[in-house]
């Protein structure tokens, strides 16, 4: 089945396009929208955005591949991104990352076999005062400890599918 936005997402798409003087400026915001709607940006999804914006497919490809938050591969249902930069490092980010790897049985850049979780090391999330931090589907979790991470993973296992306000674009695996 060919990819297409739902009527509701279409309205959001139109709202975005309308606010710019040209269609190319709407590219990154609408790619974020497509990423969120389709789970990641497959070639088909990029071509769909290109068609909708009447832009050359090559422009869409070159922009989509430049930005790390635009997913070029599927992630887990809960995409866990751990900051590995300096302030978090000083507050135990390595231990937090190692703990999550052991707990989920996957490394950075991998997805659990059941598709529930993916893990990634990311750069400074601008929450250095509450380090170490991680994001799950765009929501911040600050002042983390291995124990808090365990509780978080446990609650996500039983949580409904992400959506609505807490759901944002994930990062590239």
């Amino acid at each position: 089945m060919a990819l297409a936005f739902t009527p509701e997402v279409d309205r959001e798409f139109d709202r975005i396009v309308r606010r710019y003087p040209n269609r190319r400026a709407a590219l990154i915001p609408t790619l974020i929208l497509a990423d969120r709607e389709f789970g990641y940006l497959s070639r088909e999804a990029m071509d769909y955005v290109a068609k909708r914006l009447e832009l050359p497919a090559a422009w869409v490809l070159s922009t989509a591949t430049f930005y790390t938050m635009l997913r070029k591969r599927p992630t887990g249902k809960h995409h866990v991104q751990v900051c590995v930069n300096v302030a978090c490092y000083l507050k135990g980010a390595d231990q937090l990352g190692d703990h999550l790897k052991k707990r989920l049985g996957i490394g950075f850049g991998e997805v659990t076999p059941d598709g529930l979780f993916s893990l990634e090391g990311v750069q400074c999330l601008a929450a250095c005062g509450t380090a170490p931090v991680l994001q799950v589907n765009g929501a911040y979790h600050e002042d983390m400890t291995p124990e808090k991470a365990d509780a978080l993973i446990q609650s996500l296992r039983t949580a409904p599918a992400p959506g609505g306000a807490t759901s944002g674009p994930g990062g590239a695996v």
């Binding site: 710019y20 922009t63 300096v86 509450t130």
Partner: protein, 429 residues
């Protein structure tokens, strides 16, 4: 050292503390909100620019360029539309101040944007927010809508003939888009590759139109200048570097977070009074004073004032005034490795010294940390860093080189001990 913070994390810029927020436009209006904007709209734009110039608001995005001076670079006779672009990309490691405005207190920022747009004659302002700030983007979009409903945006701002739209534009994960010309490319829908200058954005910026780019906190300062007047604003800081400043504190301190104080706060007051001192009261080993690109200082710098000129005088930079502290027992090579890895990852790849050089820096620092480096590699590292300095299109090259040079010079014994002992004496690797 005092046990209670002298600064309750509240003031002119930081109006609420952690966990609090001010998101109600009606309350904002009831407590003096938009009065600065009203005052501005009654002034001729040229007088407004003069007032901002008089306040010498030095840009809060890192480089410290005076805002009023930047505004006066706009060509007088260009018929194209003018744009105001606000930089909320906040990506410099260690920095987390602009997020406060986006998530907790958006109206002073939006009011500052409206005042600035009127001053420079822009009818569209783009607010470029890093994509990771999912919540901040939502808060801002709601705040823009509320401000429009309150009559402070749109066709007739506060009943005046001035019209303004503010568009919240998301980034999508690229530190380089914080660099102003890359940011413009990104709004245009392109990969964020910095532009060669000249022309500067004030002459040919967004879609080749005259464009002013300013930081979030700079906009909040503009509002303060209009509220209190340039003289009162200046009196909130040093005579030359005017105004209050948001200081960030992270790393090995008891109370990390954001603190407001006049420009020129000493590192000692920030760390020991506001921050409650170091964890387990350990001695300080290194202070990165203003974001990861600013040269590292030692405890001998504790009495240096955190303003643009004083920090420069001791060989570093105020940057974003976000200090990251590490104490004795921390491996400085491991700290530098996180920094070098970051810049190598974030190079846009456009110029050879940066694209190749940041990769070399990362690999050499890594080999030193892991004990596979050879004697003399510290000098190789310094030479590589010096070859990047000043030879690139944008300042990311310098941002990658400066920490390397300062870490090797300050902690040379630690670096040599890694090489001689074939591994990390701190067991950090």
């Amino acid at each position: 050292m005092s046990a209670t913070p002298a600064n309750p994390a509240r003031g002119h810029l930081l109006r609420c503390g952690p966990g609090e927020s001010l998101l109600d436009v009606a309350k904002y209006q009831a407590t003096g909100g938009f009065q600065a904007l009203r005052k501005a709209l009654a002034m001729p734009p040229a007088a407004l620019i003069d007032e901002v110039k008089k306040a010498t608001i030095r840009g809060r995005g890192g480089a410290g360029f005076p805002a009023g001076t930047k505004w006066s670079f706009l060509p007088k006779d260009n018929p194209k539309p003018r744009y105001l672009v606000i930089n909320a990309d906040e990506g410099e490691p260690g920095t987390f101040k602009d997020r406060y405005f986006l998530e907790q207190d958006p109206f002073p920022l939006l009011e500052g944007i409206a005042i600035s747009a009127y001053a420079i004659g822009a009818h569209t302002a783009y607010l470029y927010v890093r994509g990771e700030f999912v919540r901040g983007i939502k808060v801002l979009e709601d705040a823009v809508e509320a401000m429009r409903k309150a009559g402070a945006l749109g066709r007739s701002v506060l009943g005046s003939p001035f019209s303004l739209e503010i568009i919240v534009h998301p980034g999508a994960g690229a530190y380089i888009c914080g660099e102003e010309s890359a940011l413009l490319e990104s709004i245009e829908g392109k990969p964020g590759r910095p532009r060669n200058r000249p022309p500067f954005p004030a002459v040919a910026g967004l879609w080749a139109c005259p464009t002013i780019i300013n930081n979030v906190e700079t906009m909040a300062c503009v509002r303060l200048v209009l509220m209190h007047g340039a003289d009162a604003f200046l009196a909130m800081g040093l005579p030359k570097d005017g105004g209050p400043k948001i200081y960030g504190l992270s790393g090995h301190v008891k109370r990390p977070g954001l603190y407001e104080a006049p420009l020129g706060l000493s590192l000692r007051t920030l760390i020991y009074d506001f921050g409650g001192g170091t964890i387990d009261d350990r001695p300080i080993k290194g202070i990165i004073p203003g974001g990861s690109s600013t040269p590292v200082l030692g405890p001998d710098a504790l009495d240096v004032a955190m303003d643009f000129e004083s920090i420069k005088a001791v060989g570093s930079m105020l940057g974003t005034a976000a200090a990251t502290i590490f104490t004795e027992g921390t491996c400085p090579v491991a700290v530098l490795l996180r920094i070098s890895r970051f810049y190598a990852h974030e190079s846009c790849g456009q110029c050879t010294p940066c694209r190749d050089g940041t990769g070399w820096l990362e690999r050499i620092v890594e080999s030193i940390e892991h004990g596979t480096a050879r004697p003399g590699d510290c000098d190789v590292l310094l030479a590589a860093a010096n070859q990047i300095m000043g030879n690139t299109i944008c300042a990311l090259g310098d941002a990658a080189a400066l920490p390397v040079i300062s870490f090797v010079n300050r902690f040379r014994d630690d670096f040599e001990a890694h090489i001689a002992g074939r591994g990390c004496p701190y067991g950090a690797a």
